[in-house]
Structure formats: C-alpha cells, structure tokens
Subunit: 149 residues, 2 copies
Amino acid sequence: MEQRVSLVTLGVDDLGRARRFYEALGWTTGAAPDDDVVFFQAGGLVVGLWSRAALAEDSGIEDGGMEDGGVEDASGWGGIVLAHNVRSPAEVDAVLAEADAAGGTIVRTGAPTFWGGYSGLFRDPDGHAWEIAHNPSWALAEDGAVRLG
Amino acid sequence: MEQRVSLVTLGVDDLGRARRFYEALGWTTGAAPDDDVVFFQAGGLVVGLWSRAALAEDSGIEDGGMEDGGVEDASGWGGIVLAHNVRSPAEVDAVLAEADAAGGTIVRTGAPTFWGGYSGLFRDPDGHAWEIAHNPSWALAEDGAVRLG
C-alpha cells in the first residue's frame, strides 16, 4: 500500500449546510447544486461531503448516528472514511490482502461499485476505515496525487 | 482557508500495534521506536498516529472511547482530527475567525502549543474536527504541501 491518502470523505447530516459551510470558508467545488456528493480538490487529495447514512451503509458500518441526540453505538466511527486510490482492480485486491494479513478487518471485499469503479474497505486495528478504490474517472498522477477532472 | 489538508491524525488505543499495522502495509516513518507520535509522509500531507485519549484532550473533545467495550458518548467523534497548517500564528487566528463566522464551533482559540507552534481548533457543523496550526518545524511548500524534515 503506497503511503498516501486520496480522499477524505466527511459524512454529514445535511449536505446543503455542510457545503455552505466549506464554501463560506472559501472552498470551491465543481459539484452541481443538486449533486448528492460534493468533492473539493484539496491539494493532491480530495475532500468529499456525503450523507453520513449513505457513507455508513456504503462502508459496511453500523452507525448509531447523532440524529436523535441519543447515545452513539459502539462502532467507534465518527463519520469519516479515508480512501486510497490505486491503478487497477487487481491492485485493490492486493492491498486488501495486505491489510488482512497485517491484522486489519476486511469489511467489504473488492467488488464493482455503483459509481463505476471497483473497491473494497478495511478497518485498521483502531477501527479507522479505509476504502481501497480504483476509480477510472479520477486521474492518478505518477506521485499518487488525485486530480478531479 | 486554503483548500487543502495538512495532517490526518488517527487516534489509537495502542500506538505500537497501530504503528506495526501501517509498517506491515509497507509504510515507513522517521519516528524513533519510543516516540509517542508517529508521522508518515503521505504524499503532500502527513498521516499521524497518536494516543486517542491524548488527541481527544488536545482537541477539547469529550470522548467516550472504546476501552470498556461500552457505548460511545454522544460527541460523534471517531478518533480522527484533520489539520490545516498555515504560515503564521496570525493566519491561524484569521482562519478560526472565518470558521466561526461560517457557523463552525470554536473548540480551542489560537494559542501556543506544547510542541512549539501555535494552533486552535474548530468543529464543522457535523462535528468534524479541524486543527488550524502554524508549525514552524514543518515546511509548507508554495502549493501548501507539507513535507516532514
């Protein structure tokens, strides 16, 4: 697994509110007003905003959430998923195998995704979630930096 | 606030275990064996491993933690803090003022830190924590990339 981060996805309860917050900080996105995911190019990586419920489901995480002001579940998840993009589906499977051998927990094995790529997901020994993804739509520079189109 | 991420700190319950996990994935660090923080250069940003309890305390977050296998608190925090490094203490204060005006919650106002820099911290509307930091020991490239010494 190369030593880099491609995408930090922040799960949010209200996408419009979250988007307005980051835009008020001066951040700009190419997302359309009604897109359900908002990506910001942030240096050599991307910061994404997505429904926390959708992110949890996509990541195979049971999330107590915060909606009812109640108590969190014991998953230890705070609504953030890191992603590491690679150059092929085979490389996704190879990194997941490394993570498994190293003591990570494979939450989702490599498989085609609804967005047209291929990915799987592991959690590290402290529960931090890493999606390993091949996204044919995102350019990966030689040094691993991700650039939105 | 420029559109970039400088540091992703993963709070961990057992630093040795976490370090061994990332090293088993092939990651390398310049940290000494008994350092209590482990930094990995990860492209133009840094991934850090630090005691989850220390990270929570440093970040002004009340963390239910996972130690007793019990239920999480309602903070919604999963042990991750993002950091955005800037070029001066004054810029730390300016970004915190922007975050405050945009509807973020200022958890820690700008102040000198134990590690010799100056920082403050806000949480976005969904509770995601951002430390805004001036670290005189870390080079910040013109494009904002962070390079460990």
